[in-house]
């Protein structure tokens, strides 16, 4: 038991780093994911994760595998696509989902092209799938900063974000906070995707956001409960995933997401708030 669950972290620094970085991602990703789920933007998160690729690739083109350049590029590209697809949706007859799909497909193709032209296929793998086992000091500090900023930001936005999601017309009738709230939330989403990109790569960056949040919806019937369950599921996925990948030799990023997927499957079946088991075997109805 000890050999399996504790000693990898005791013996290897890269495992400890992976654990700390992954925990930071899980703790800030979960609440962001919860609001994405509640706002029916689950797939928006996925599309935007692909959209950060060309920015990161441009950073890579000019500076190699440099943390600063790729982060700044990815962040800029993510925001640009979010704003541009929103603008196209407002200005033309295309709906938001169609214009977002167009933007992210082009972004993904562009990003892969840029990385392939300049770098090796190892670099491409790194960009697509990240490497949670190679987090250096600077990256860890970046992940921790983004996690802290996300929590502070969500705490500040919480009330207007909840009202904007449940009853946007009401918020608009009493305050001007609606628009700025949406924009601030998008910035938080992109920030967390950029963080996830470092550890899990562009394809799986949303994994630690969406899977724990979707699982949480099946257990909790209020927002604080969902955030707590989501953070717990995310953190557990990181730990179990790292242990499993260490023991099996499988790549750690995908294994972490697979573990989160396992939690999701369990939630779908056994979740107390709308899981399948509850619906298949309903308890006796009440008197009133």
């Amino acid at each position: 038991m000890f050999d399996l669950f504790i000693s990898p972290f005791q013996e290897f620094e890269f495992m400890r780093r992976a654990l700390v970085g992954g925990m930071a991602l899980a703790l800030s990703g979960a609440p962001v994911g919860v609001f994405l789920v509640l706002r029916r933007m689950s797939l928006t998160g996925d599309a935007m994760a692909h959209a950060i690729l060309p920015g990161a690739a441009l950073g890579y083109l000019f500076a190699g595998l440099s943390l600063g350049a790729m982060t700044a590029g990815g962040f800029a590209a993510g925001l640009l696509v979010a704003v541009a697809s929103g603008a196209v949706a407002r200005a033309t007859s295309l709906r938001e989902d169609a214009s977002l799909a167009a933007f992210y497909l082009v972004s993904l193709a562009l990003g892969v092209t840029i990385v392939s032209l300049k770098g090796t296929s190892i670099d491409l793998l790194h960009v697509l799938f990240g490497n949670v086992l190679a987090l250096d000091d600077a990256t860890l500090i970046l992940l921790a900063s983004i996690a802290s900023l996300t929590m502070l930001g969500l705490a500040a936005l919480y009330r207007s974000l909840v009202i904007e999601t449940v009853d946007p017309n009401f918020l608009a009738s009493v305050s001007r906070a609606g628009g700025p709230t949406q924009i601030a939330f998008l910035i938080l989403v992109v920030m967390n995707l950029v963080a996830g990109f470092q550890a899990l790569g562009t394809l799986l960056a949303v994994g630690l956001m969406m899977l724990p949040a979707a699982s949480a919806r099946l257990w909790a019937n209020d927002v604080p409960g969902m955030i707590a369950v989501g953070a717990g599921v995310g953190a557990a996925s990181v730990y179990v995933g790292l242990v499993a990948s260490f023991a099996s030799g499988a790549p750690s990023g995908p294994v972490i997401i697979l573990v989160a997927g396992g939690f999701y499957a369990v939630s779908v079946i056994f979740g107390r708030a709308g899981g399948l088991a509850r619906q298949m075997r309903p308890r006796q109805h009440l008197e009133a």
Binding site: L38, A156, L157, R159, S160, V162, I163, T165, V166, D167, P168, N169, F170, L171, A172, S173, V174, S175, R176, A177, R217, A220, N221, D222, V223, M226
Partner: protein, 246 residues
């Protein structure tokens, strides 16, 4: 009496097409005013304009007593995401937004006000229920409770009694009467003419243009109602610029 709202030659609409055309008049403090008219007469548009959710195409709305955001506005079929996990108590507490904003606390005093409002609309014991589990009538009662918490001097209700049973409708009407007794101004879009005659002293009859505005008994005359039906013509895609003097 003092005016709380002055409408001057007001035109409201969408894409330059007027839905409410050149209407004028004053709403006085403490008025209990019904807005009546056929479908497509511009009733909801007028409320939207008064609430500040729609900019006038022409003319002006002067809000004498309060800013647009201090007006409590209940839209027709409020677009509420009923799958969102939030309970009745928290929904009603949203009425404190103007006072509490993003960070203000909901302390003991405010909590008591929320519970009082929930009691007043007859939802005792449901404060912890998720909004997704409420019936249509209960949801409307909850929204009335939120308006109580908003504590506004001017209240706009867009077809607040549609699809409600008589008991719920009666309860909500008596809440509206209580608001008037407290000196608030209430403007409601309604289709039930009997109810309007019974409860609302004043009526504004609208058919894109103003048909009549004044004491309910005079306004809801057979000839006025007939005129209103005839005046709601179809929207004209090729309409010319309106040349009526501003």
């Amino acid at each position: 009496m003092t005016a709380v709202l002055r409408l001057q030659n007001l035109t409201l609409g969408y894409d330059r097409h007027p839905a409410v055309h050149h209407i004028g008049g004053e709403v006085e403090a403490g008025d209990l005013l019904a807005i009546c008219g056929p479908n497509g007469a511009g009733k909801s548009t007028l409320l939207k304009g008064i609430a500040g959710a729609l900019k006038p195409l022409g003319g002006s709305i002067e809000r004498v007593a309060c800013a647009a955001r201090d007006i409590a506005y209940l839209p027709q079929a409020a677009e509420i995401d009923r799958t969102f996990p939030v309970n009745v108590f928290d929904m009603v507490s949203m009425g404190f937004w103007r006072q509490a904003g993003l960070f203000g606390g909901i302390g003991t005093g405010r909590k008591r006000k929320v519970m009082d409002a929930i009691h007043a609309v007859g939802l005792d014991g449901l404060e912890d229920r998720a909004i997704g589990t409420l019936s249509g009538g209960q949801l409307q009662r909850m929204l009335f409770a939120r308006i109580m918490v908003q504590d506004s001097a001017v209240i706009l209700l867009d077809e607040p009694l549609t699809a409600l049973d008589t008991r719920t409708a009666d309860d909500l009407v008596s809440i509206v009467e209580r608001w008037q007794a407290q000196g608030r101004t209430v403007i409601a879009v309604l289709h039930d003419m009997d109810l309007v005659r019974r409860v609302f002293p004043k009526t504004l009859l609208l058919a894109r243009e103003l048909v009549a505005w004044g004491a309910t008994f005079d306004v809801l005359s057979p000839s006025n109602l007939q005129r209103a039906r005839e005046m709601v013509e179809a929207f004209d895609r090729n309409a010319e610029d309106c040349m009526r003097a501003a």
